[in-house]
Every structure is written in C-alpha cells, then in structure tokens.
C-alpha cells in the first residue's frame, strides 16, 4: 500500500468534497430531525435527480441544474405545507415518484445517456468530482454554514415549537423555506460523493449518534459534525482502496458508528440503573421484609428491583 491517495488530483477533490459534505449535512440535518421531517432530504434528492438528467440532456453542468431543481422542489414543499390543501405527506410522496420518473425519462431522451449512467449520481463515486464541482460545493458550503451560524437560534426555536415561534413574531414561513433551500443546497453538495439516494442518511444518522450520546442540542450538533466528517472522509478513503461506491461505504460506516453509540448508550443506562439500585440499598433483607423470597439451594434470595439479593448479615450478594 505504497500509493499515497493525495497524490491523485481526483482524490484531493473527492476528499475535499467529503469534508464539505461531512460538515454541512449534519449541521442542516439536525433541524430536520428536530422537526421530525427526516425524509424531506430524500424527497429533495429525488427531485435533484431530475435536475441531473436535465443537465445531461441539455449539455449543461448537472450540478447546477440539480441545484435549480432541488431549490425549486424544496420551496414548493414548504409552500404546500404552509398553504396547500393536499397534505404535506402526499406532496412529499409525489416529489419522490416525480423526481425519479422525471430523471429516468429525461436521461432516456438524452442521446448520450442511459438510465445506467445515473448510478454514480444515485450512490456516489469518488472519481466524478470535477474542479468546477469543488468550487461550487465550496461556495455552497460557505453560504450554508454562514447562514446556519447566524440563524441557528431562530432555526432552533422554529424547529422546536413552530406555534410558539409564530406567537413570538418570527417569520416562520421564511425560516422554514430557508431551511428547505439550505437542505437543497446540501443535497447538491453531497451528490458526487454520497449520491442523491443516500444523502439523507448523512443528514440524519450522525444526528442519531449525537442524540444517543449528548444531552443538549449543542452537544448533539457538535457530535454529529465530528461523526459526519469522520465517516465521510474515512468512507471516501476506504472507497479508494476497496474500490466500492463511496456513498454506500460512507453510509454503512455511519450506521456502524450509530450502532456502537446506541449500544454504548444502552449499556451506560443499565450501569446507571445498577449504581442507583446499589446506592439505594439501605435495607436488611429477611423474612417478612416485603421482597419476594426465593429458595436458592442452601439459602434464600430476595427479589429487589429485579435483582436477586442473598443476604449475609446486614450486607448482601447479588445472585
């Protein structure tokens, strides 16, 4: 393994794009998780696919046509949520199907494209990030993160309690639409490395890790960004050596981190309960002490909060 991956310009671009995705996707995604709209990123990803196909068909940069369509789709879904008579659920479903169908149809119309060409856009591929893409991604990331930094308190308030935010005089529709547009921008930043069908995972899973280990919104966000950057850079690197699609690699790594965090969280809770149980024990077991008695070989155990205590003197062993 003497090859240094940074010797390859395409890997430099891929790793830079991975870094940008790793920061922006969880930073935007935390508000989607907070609003329980985890699937909206997916809907926007599907619409962006139509944008990509439009780019291929018309010979324009797919990143830019995807951006235009994704922003339009994101704005539409927020307006439907605010004013529409159709439920937002149905509107999102229409986006999913319409986005995929539009993408496949347009790519089929293109003389150079076949639906098979969409695979790199759907699941990510490290070799596809162009110089122009890196510039577009960098500009979008700066814009997204800058707006997030300024508006974070208000986005938190609106995501936490929309009705209260409205009663406090905040422009809820504008903030929600802005969040949808930022989500659209993040989908586009992610389309080369993570892929349009998998991007939502990188908005959601790092935040799920944050939820499992942190007790505050701020702590969740910081954890999610660290996890996001870690898995996207590591996944891109693994993808180079193992020759796997980068998006799938990144997402599976993220899921792995989540499972470890969730198991760790469950274990920590169990230990806490155990400690609390042990601390709470200022009671001497004996006949008639109020705990269920079970004969255990040559002695009696008393069932205490689900633990079996075998008394000896004032102390006890757990059996």
């Amino acid at each position: 393994m003497n090859v240094l991956i940074l010797d390859y310009p395409f890997m430099q671009r891929a790793l830079l794009a991975a870094l940008l995705v790793g920061v922006t996707a969880p930073a935007v995604g935390i508000y989607l998780v907070q609003r329980r709209l985890a699937l909206i990123g997916d809907g926007i990803g599907h619409v962006a696919l139509t944008g990509v196909a439009l780019g291929v068909l018309t010979g324009r940069a797919p990143v830019l046509t995807a951006l235009v369509l994704a922003v339009a789709g994101a704005t539409a879904i927020e307006l439907i949520r605010a004013y529409g008579r159709a439920s937002a659920d149905i509107a999102l479903a229409v986006m999913f199907y319409g986005g995929i169908a539009g993408g496949v149809l347009l790519i089929g119309l293109s003389p150079t494209g076949t639906p098979a060409n969409l695979s790199a856009y759907l699941f990510g591929a490290i070799t596809t990030t162009s110089d122009q893409d890196v510039w577009v991604f960098a500009a979008l990331s700066v814009a997204v993160l800058g707006l997030m930094a300024v508006l974070a308190p208000r986005l938190f308030a609106v995501s936490n309690d929309e009705e209260y935010a409205r009663a406090s005089g905040m422009n809820v529709l504008a903030l929600n639409t802005l969040l949808a547009v930022l989500t659209a921008a993040t989908v586009v930043i992610s389309m080369r490395i993570v892929g349009l069908l998998l991007i939502s995972a990188l908005m959601i899973i790092p935040n799920a890790v944050g939820q499992a280990v942190a007790g505050s919104f701020r702590g969740t966000l910081l954890t999610a960004i660290v996890v996001g950057v870690g898995v996207s850079v590591a996944g891109t690197t693994v993808s180079f050596y193992a020759d796997t699609p980068s998006g799938a690699t990144i997402v599976l790594l993220a899921i792995g981190v989540f499972l470890v965090a969730a198991a760790g969280g469950a274990a920590r809770t169990a230990v806490h309960q155990r400690r609390r149980h042990v601390r709470a024990h200022d009671h001497e077991h004996g006949p008639g002490c109020g705990h269920e008695a079970l004969v255990h070989g040559d002695h009696v155990d008393y069932v205490h909060d689900g633990f079996r205590h075998a008394p000896h003197g004032a102390d006890y062993d757990e059996h």
Binding site: D161, A167, S168, G169, M170, N207, Q211, S216
Partner: protein, 251 residues
C-alpha cells in the same frame, strides 16, 4: 416541590415592570370582533378589554371559542371582523410580540433532538433580539432569572426530556418569561397537574402579578386559581356570555 418553592424564595424581586403606563390602560381590546381560521369565524361579536394588572380567566365548554380568542391575541388566529387592538395598535400591525408571553397547553417540551432547559428557555429570549445579534450578558441574566423564577435553577443544564410533566410545564412558563413580557397568556395551566403543583403555580402567578404582569388564562377550572384571579369571563357558543369581577360569581 421543595425545589419549586426554593426557587420562588430565591427569585428576583422586581418592582412594577412598566410604571410609566397608566395603571389600568387596556393592553388587549376586542370590539365586536370575529376571530377564526381561514374564513370561518369561531368567536363572533366579542367585546372584551383586558387592562394592565388584571388576572382574567376565560372559561367555557370545549369548542366555545376561548382558545380562539387568545389565539387571535397571539396572532395565531385571524381577525375576520371588528377590531382587535394590542397596546392600542391593531393586531395585524402589532410588531412588539415580545410584550405578550405565551404558555401553550402542552405536557412535553422539545422536538426529537435533546435540548436543555437553558436552550429551550433561551429560545424565548429571541423575540427581544435582532436577527444578527449575539447573546448578551443581559440576555443570559434574564434567561437565568426566568429559570430561577420557576424553580428549576438546579436543573438548567438537564435535558428537558428527563424532567417530569409538571417541570416541563414550568420550562414553558420560563420560556415565556424570557422575553420579559407585560402580558402572559396561558392555556390550561392547571390541567392534568396535581394539587401541590397547582398551589405552587398559583404562588408563582401571584409573584408575577406583584411584579406588574397582566395574566389572561384559558381554563376549565376556576377553583384552583381563585386566589389570584380578579375577573372571570365566560365564553359560550362563540360569544362572550358573562363577565364577572368576582370568581365566586360564576356557577
């Protein structure tokens, strides 16, 4: 409950918040107002004035329109006819929303992501802050005071999801206090709360009234609040049916 009482004892002492305004100036005035959603009025022809320093309960059966009345005041329901004025300004042109604090009827606070008491109460301060401002030392102090007032000073960094239902209600009150409002609108503050918590709530409200706050409370039950109320207004079938200065005067 000791934490709550302790908080009350250590809470800030403040004089009247707006001593410059006339003592009985109207803060909310409805004149023959129709209020509702879309183009459908739920409350019709309502005449109602809330004056500074009053503590008014809005009572009546479910669906009578009492919540619609307060939602009209909060800008959450539409004024479809007549006039609604807030601090002398027509409701649709009223911009100083921080002057009216809102405590919704809710037993849980927060969305899917963990957030601390401080973070949730801090979101109540935003109504006072320009979009591009940073959190000032004064903002932090007001948020701290609000948390202390409701007796949660020792839980300020606790995730709200780990608090009891009664404590989460208090977080919502603190959030409303964080904008240093002149009027507090509360929706069913005593519903589903045990007697001890109700008594604590009443003491908190008495304290806030002593600080100069005006209260408008939607409730099903007047009795637990009798010590603090100055007036009871009955809403029935979308109309204001009775208006009594003594809580005892209501059947």
């Amino acid at each position: 409950m000791t934490g709550f009482l302790g908080g009350l004892l250590t809470g800030r002492e403040k004089g009247h918040r707006h001593a410059d305004a006339p003592p009985d100036a109207p803060v909310v005035a409805l004149r023959h107002a129709d209020v509702g959603y879309g183009d459908r009025a739920v409350l019709t022809g309502a005449d109602f004035t809330l004056r500074r320093g009053e503590v008014v309960a809005l009572v009546g059966p479910n669906g009578a329109g009492k919540t619609t009345l307060v939602r009209g005041v909060l800008g959450l329901a539409r004024v479809l006819g007549g006039d609604v004025e807030l601090f002398g300004v027509p409701a649709d042109r009223f911009k100083e929303r921080w002057r009216i604090g809102y405590v919704p009827q809710r037993n849980s606070v927060g969305g899917a992501v963990p957030s601390t008491v401080e973070e949730v109460v801090g979101s109540g301060r935003l109504a006072r802050r320009p979009v591009l401002s940073r959190t000032s030392a004064h903002d932090r102090e007001v948020v701290d005071d609000a948390i202390t007032t409701v007796g949660l000073a020792d839980r300020r960094r606790a995730p709200v999801a780990t608090l009891s239902g009664g404590q989460q209600r208090r977080v919502l009150i603190a959030r409303a206090l964080a904008s240093e409002p002149e009027v507090l609108v509360m929706d069913e503050p005593t519903a589903g709360v045990d007697a001890a918590s109700q008594a604590s709530l009443v003491r908190t409200l008495q304290r806030l009234v002593a600080q100069g706050l005006t209260l408008l409370i939607v409730t099903h039950e007047v009795a637990p609040l009798a010590d603090v109320l100055t007036r009871v207004v009955v809403v029935e079938d979308g109309r204001i049916a009775r208006d009594s200065r003594r809580p005892g005067g209501v059947p």
